[in-house]
């Protein structure tokens, strides 16, 4: 390691031994609980309680998380009691009691849309990235939809999830079974700050088989794509559903907001779906550009968020340099640059609704359970953008 004042200072920072001991104890207790629960879902309330016992008291966020976890479990328990809805039973003569689906602890129903998720459109969490091209009028916008999804039933061996018009982003994939799982290795998953765009993300090329993907995508970062673990379908053992975590899970752990934009639920979503909007339509492109402006403006207005904004515009810096332009000297220049592309006629909620409708409304997830006797049943979940109020996007789901 090179020696300099930086590394010297880092050398002085060491985790206190008692803190390490507490961390080990908390982890082993959580692991022990998990082993005892072998074959059952992970009890988040137990994990949280383990965590709380060994920490300082009086931390408000701990209480909020525990309350959230307990509340989520209570709603989940209520949801599980709702009659299950199934389609496509191939039965094979066996009698099955069906299965129920919950998304973010909301029991899904057939023919009735339930709110499962809310997204703060201006939340500077880096969970969405957008690009707009003021010259050609095209625009690309991406968004993560992250939520817990649970399948409950009896005698179920495994559960397969298949998404249409979106891509699953799994953070941990050790529990994913090969059977029925399909990786999507060629979709370019551009995160905020990336600049090496090769092929615009689009629903058309999002989850096509490899041989139907545009070859130009190959010039992208294949290592990165592999690491991101994108799946169009995955199968997970029934008793290990909750061991999955999504790529965006920790980034977007607050998945519900109240009307004032305050996070009211904290959880670790097992499911993250990347969706995108790619358009050459002039009006829609303008909506995306305005959304970009709103997003960045909200970050700029937040002094502490400037680093996040700087992170985002790094891609723009690189593009500018590649085109032979001088590197912009400050954030304000970008604020001005984006203001030029902003239309004052932008109606935030109305136009966000148009954009999010485009991204969300055709996403469906087929959930297929395989029973211990080999029989399978499938239920399909359809997502929709229900409303946008004060910049809060509400995502609904129903069984179809």
């Amino acid at each position: 390691m090179k020696t300099n004042p930086y590394t010297n200072r880092m050398d002085q920072i060491k985790a206190p031994q008692d803190a390490v001991d507490r961390a080990v104890k908390a982890a082993l207790e959580a692991d022990s609980d998990q082993q005892k629960e072998n074959g059952k879902v992970i009890r988040m309330d137990a994990v949280m309680n383990n965590s709380r016992q060994t920490r300082r008291t009086g931390k408000s966020r701990r209480m909020i998380r525990v309350v959230s976890a307990v509340a989520a479990c209570a709603v989940l328990a209520a949801g599980v009691t709702v009659a299950s809805v199934m389609t496509g039973n191939n039965g094979k003569g066996a009698v099955h009691n069906g299965f129920s689906l919950t998304a973010n602890a909301a029991a899904l129903k057939k023919g009735s849309t339930i709110d499962i998720l809310s997204i703060k459109a201006s939340e500077p969490s880096g969970t969405w990235s957008m690009e707009s091209d003021g010259v050609t009028g095209s625009a690309v916008m991406e968004e993560y939809l992250t939520f817990t999804v649970d399948c409950k039933g009896e005698n179920i061996k495994s559960v397969n999830y298949r998404v249409h018009n979106g891509v699953f982003c799994l953070g941990s994939w050790q529990t994913v079974m090969e059977e029925g799982s399909e990786k999507c290795t060629k979709y370019r998953f551009s995160t905020a700050g990336d600049q090496a765009e090769t092929v615009p993300a689009s629903k058309e090329n999002m989850n096509q088989p490899d041989d139907q993907q545009p070859s130009a995508v190959d010039t992208g970062s294949n290592v990165e794509l592999s690491w991101n673990n994108l799946y169009t379908a995955y199968t997970v053992p029934y008793d290990k559903q909750n061991m999955l975590s999504s790529y965006a899970a920790d980034m977007a752990s607050a998945s519900f907001y109240d009307p004032d934009g305050i996070a009211i639920k904290t959880d670790y979503p097992s499911c993250a779906i990347a969706t995108c909007l790619s358009t050459n339509d002039k009006e829609l492109s303008q909506d995306v550009k305005n959304a970009v402006f709103h997003y960045n403006k909200s970050v700029i207005d937040d002094v502490e968020g400037k680093s996040a904004y700087a992170e985002y515009v790094m891609g723009e810096y690189d593009k500018a340099r590649q085109n032979g332009h001088e590197e912009p000297s400050g954030l304000m220049e970008y604020e001005e640059f984006e203001a030029k592309n902003y239309s004052s006629t932008f109606d935030k909620d109305k136009d966000f609704k148009i954009v999010y409708d485009e991204m969300i409304n055709d996403i469906t997830i087929d959930v297929t359970v395989t029973y211990n006797d080999g029989a399978t049943e499938t239920s399909t979940m359809k997502l929709s953008c229900e409303k946008v109020e004060n910049g809060i996007v509400t995502v609904g789901a129903e069984l179809v």
Binding site: K2, Y6, A15, A26, I42, G193, A196, E311, D318
Partner: protein, 168 residues
């Protein structure tokens, strides 16, 4: 060369030993990253604990040290994001609980570091202290390698004084 912690499914005792070994091995790394993001020792300790719990509840890639390091970096950074977002909304305590400074001197180095955008802080730490390659950092932070490379250059410029004092 990659080192595998385990080659096969361990017994409960072996798993516990493995978990403890991983936490103790990486505690300083997690804590340092957290300290650079949180300004507070107690918050950094909380993050260390939350990452440790996530290690067992989130199916961490214990079998592969390279991926495990990436996983730990990413989860630590994400926990810092969570804490930042929470503090924006619910902070009830002051920031008097700052990190200790050596010999009572103003902690100029940490102050300089905290002036950096978050991504730069992560890049500088992983590159200079943990000896991550550009590609490693890109994978750990889920960023494009070019982004990391250009970010490293800019971070170097901003930290020129503290990085060149003893010749980098």
């Amino acid at each position: 060369m990659e080192t595998n912690f385990v080659d096969e499914i361990p017994s409960a005792e072996e798993r516990s030993a493995l978990i403890e070994r991983v936490i103790r091995q990486y505690a300083d790394m997690i804590y340092r990253i957290a300290c650079q993001h949180t300004d507070s020792e107690s918050d950094a300790e909380d993050i260390l604990q939350e990452v440790s719990i996530a290690l067992v509840t989130k199916d961490a890639p214990l079998h592969d040290e390279t991926h495990l390091r990436h996983w730990l970096v990413r989860v630590t950074v994400n926990k810092c994001h969570d804490l930042y977002r929470h503090n924006q909304r619910f902070r009830t305590e002051s920031l008097d609980d700052h990190m200790d400074t050596p010999a009572g001197k103003p902690d100029e180095v940490m102050e300089e570091i905290r002036q950096l955008p978050e991504l730069y802080r992560n890049i500088i730490y992983l590159y200079y202290y943990e000896n991550f390659t550009i590609q490693d950092i890109a994978q750990a932070l889920h960023k494009n390698a070019n982004t990391i490379s250009s970010g490293l250059q800019r971070a170097r410029k901003q930290l020129k004084k503290i990085l060149t004092e003893e010749g980098v």
